[in-house]
Symmetry: none
Subunit: 210 residues, 4 copies
Amino acid sequence: MPEPRYRRRKEDRPDEIAQAAFEAFAARGYAATKVEDVAKRAGVSKGLLYLYYKTKEDLFKAVIRNVVVRRIDRLIAGLDDTDQSAEAFIRGPMLGMLRQMPGSPIAVVIRLLIAEGPKHPDLVDYYWDNVASRGLEAFQGLLDRAVESGEFRRCPASEQPQLFIAPVIMSVIWRAVFAKRSLDSDRLIETQIDLLLSELRADHTIEESP
Amino acid sequence: MPEPRYRRRKEDRPDEIAQAAFEAFAARGYAATKVEDVAKRAGVSKGLLYLYYKTKEDLFKAVIRNVVVRRIDRLIAGLDDTDQSAEAFIRGPMLGMLRQMPGSPIAVVIRLLIAEGPKHPDLVDYYWDNVASRGLEAFQGLLDRAVESGEFRRCPASEQPQLFIAPVIMSVIWRAVFAKRSLDSDRLIETQIDLLLSELRADHTIEESP
Amino acid sequence: MPEPRYRRRKEDRPDEIAQAAFEAFAARGYAATKVEDVAKRAGVSKGLLYLYYKTKEDLFKAVIRNVVVRRIDRLIAGLDDTDQSAEAFIRGPMLGMLRQMPGSPIAVVIRLLIAEGPKHPDLVDYYWDNVASRGLEAFQGLLDRAVESGEFRRCPASEQPQLFIAPVIMSVIWRAVFAKRSLDSDRLIETQIDLLLSELRADHTIEESP
Amino acid sequence: MPEPRYRRRKEDRPDEIAQAAFEAFAARGYAATKVEDVAKRAGVSKGLLYLYYKTKEDLFKAVIRNVVVRRIDRLIAGLDDTDQSAEAFIRGPMLGMLRQMPGSPIAVVIRLLIAEGPKHPDLVDYYWDNVASRGLEAFQGLLDRAVESGEFRRCPASEQPQLFIAPVIMSVIWRAVFAKRSLDSDRLIETQIDLLLSELRADHTIEESP
DNA sequence: AATGAATGAGTATTCATTCAT
DNA sequence: CATGAATGAATACTCATTCAT
């Protein structure tokens, strides 16, 4: 008779279930996770789960939304409101976030989207609208402001914010697939940022090979 | 309908089936693909499919191997045998390959590995041994030779060949998830290569921000 | 058709299903019985059956155990505890049991073991440990006590308890195979017991052929 | 390229196939034996097998008939033609046959009939008509002649020839099911014959318990 | 609200049988 | 005659979902 894992407060139930589902999906993937396992993990009966989520797919969507929504707003607020220089922000709070991503729930969401996305276009739309495009836009805004202020120069790097994300995605994938073979993702991300910043800095001088 | 019921092409069958399976997996993912659909796509009965592949998993493995093996050897041969300068090789044949990857079957394989890899560790091992580690080693070799010859200088970029791959992986994922939202992956890849080469060139002068 | 869809009788279900399975196996043999038929016979869905029995084989084992366990203990208790003379016990309760066997569920179990035993060694082990060897030992014990008490004499018959069973097995097989051709199994069994007892009785005088 | 197991003489083919089928059925049972395995064992293609036997069931029937027909006639001839005394015949050639049965192909046929008989009533009919009833009748004839000649007396044993067979059947079953646990079937059979003959002999004196 | 017994459509796999070669 | 590639009906088992209690 183990203690129920979560307190019995009605209002929390849906979130508790979504949290349990997130853990289960993270561990075994969406398709391989049984609704019953999620219910057990949440300390709840299958029937009750179905009271809150009409289908397994609903549950999946809730998970994606939950995990993402909790984090993305904070991130974007940081991007928009910072009074640091762009470089200071990038090397500071932003680098911190990027380094955390490969080990964070976001990584799980990315994996789930890759695996299940094609079957859930509305979910992808949601993710795009609420996370990806907003994040990119906000970061692009940061770059643009830095260009306008003269901190950065306009160059290919200043118009492809995805380049900042690339090593993060790479690390996420690497971990998901090659868990056993370690990869120094911190170093990868830092090197990339160094490369990009050295290119972006307005005082940068291009040396052509002769 | 005058198709002959029997075609009796023993030699071709396994590949035809694997090809059909590849298409089916690419379209709907491994889990969501029914063996029967693969058989239909290949114009063959379920029974015959099982004559060549003992299980659905076997079929999956054959697909991965087929697609991969056909390409990787060519790539590595190019890396090892080139008599071009490193930069010329990277900007030439290698850039060509990298640009093709996001739209090639390799992209599908990558997606499949991300989605199904955790359930097929032996497949991941196979992919690691035969593709990833070999490719990385071969490319690292190219970088090392360029450093030794004085063409490149030793720097973080010369020791993280994954940085060359990162935008490719990013593009693969982007297409898989956000198919509808176009991404200029060619430009992404080229910019990254420019960044890396400008860092790697031996005559590069580092400008520190003051 | 006004049967309620749900009956919710958790406790009874496993036995009801095993009973239905027993009937189905008896009628058509293990291999030829479809799980779905068993479920139908039990008035239950396939899914529920699988809730209680993980595999068809499990179900088979449960059937064997159910049928057997219910009876063997009673039998052995009788053998061990009787205060009748050996002859009285054999001619009384034991003869009664033996005569019943060819028409009883035990006969079905025997048939099933003959047909399916080679594929289920663990089941055979179970049957041996819990039924055959226990039964033989208990009966051998009865014979030994009778020899020690002077009621029986030591002779080949007193050391081969299988001789008491032989006509029962013969009748079981006969019925299973030649159902249509009647056999007076009662008489067969009684004659055998007469033969054995006349040999076993201590006051027996052996007449050698000259 | 192992040598084909059987010489390529057309006329022998059906028998060779039936022999291979017998071995396969003996080893794994009818249901668990694949037609392909039989074909391989016979060194023949599936197609050719089907040229001689229209269905797997046909093959089964041929096996039963083959094995049985080869032996039963000899046995019955012995029963009918002997000029020995009944006791001499029983203790001599007949005991020899009975002792051989548990290890002979007949045992396999018995097992197969028990397992598959219910599904093949015509086969059972055939077996009854050509083996069981003929054998029983012939043996009953021997007993009757011995009674008429004064060698045996009329008693329950003289009218139940099955009693001679019972320990043989028991041994067959025992071996089939409890292969691992040895049983001295020779001794069982001999003891039974001793019991029966001592009862049958005309000079037998019945001792009643007081 | 809460439970978990009950349902049944869906799917991988097998194997007797056929038939083009 | 002989082959074995090809077929597809048959069947054990799973799991999302429902609903009587």
